[in-house]
Amino acid sequence: MRNTSRKERLSNVTGIYEFIIGLFIIIGSLLSLIATIGAIRLPDVYTRNHAIAKATTLGVMMILLGALIYFMVFESHFNSRLLLAILFIFMTAPISGHLIGRAAYHSGVKMAESSVTDDLGRDLQKKEKSKSRNL
């Protein structure tokens, strides 16, 4: 180990960084692919929403993180805009999932055949009933 030149050791370190960056980007793109498969396979809007809202969030975040590390190591340029993008996606993705689910429910989209319980429908019906009784 003592005989290795400085250049060789540096290339070893870059190898590790390359491995980490590759891992991040491959896992991110695989997650996006699996989310797409989920959108095709799952039975209704709500379950598809699960797959898209979660897997894509982490997938895009990991791809962006890989890009951030790449430019930090190989171009020695810290791009704070990528960090901001990660933060914004992290904050907005669950809310968009919530809004899509809510809009679907209120425009009367049926849940899948295999659904078991529906507490929201029950409570909404109860409210309707009490309102009509008051009138």
């Binding site: 699996i34 709500y46 699960h50 979660k54 982490l58 669950p94 429910y105 409570d123």
Partner: protein
């Protein structure tokens, strides 16, 4: 909490003026001594010492990240399994949180836990309606998780 933080920054500036040394280093040193000073006089404020909420926020962020990774792998396993044997459904969860931002935080946390997605908040802010992808094996476990989330959020805002 914000008042204590402002007071700490003010003490750091006072330290810088006394040293006549206007660098980041002296600001950090002044902030540290101001922190110690505020800790000694913490009984004089009627709110908690401001390090507690800051620490709780940090812990909440870690919890958020962990929930995201767990939920993603849970959903991925569900999709990749050759046979789809899921039982989706919507269940109601009564909550104790009342402020708007607390409910927002809790509902996004629930959206990012394994197999659950918030569908609606009731009009009087007392019940969350949650769509679960696999209701029977998830329900009890999720109640536990939610208790921990709710507790963590209460810890921040108390």
């Amino acid at each position: 909490m914000a008042f204590q933080m402002l007071l700490n920054i003010f003490l750091a500036f006072t330290y810088m003026f006394m040293k006549t040394n206007f660098t980041l280093g002296s600001f950090v040193v002044g902030y540290f001594w101001g922190f110690v000073f505020l800790f000694i006089f913490r009984k004089l404020f009627n709110t908690r010492f401001y390090f507690h909420p800051v620490y709780a926020t940090f812990k909440l962020m870690l919890l958020f990240l962990k929930a995201l990774v767990q939920s993603t792998f849970g959903v991925v396993m569900l999709i990749v399994k050759p046979k789809l044997d899921i039982k989706p459904g919507i269940f109601a969860l009564p909550i104790e949180l009342r402020k708007d931002w607390e409910i927002l935080l809790l509902s996004s946390l629930i959206s990012l836990t394994p197999g659950t997605l918030t569908v609606q908040v009731s009009e009087d802010n007392s019940v969350l309606y949650i769509h679960a992808i696999n209701i029977d094996d998830v329900k009890e476990e999720i109640d536990g998780i939610k208790n921990s989330f709710e507790k963590a959020i209460l810890e921040v805002s108390r």
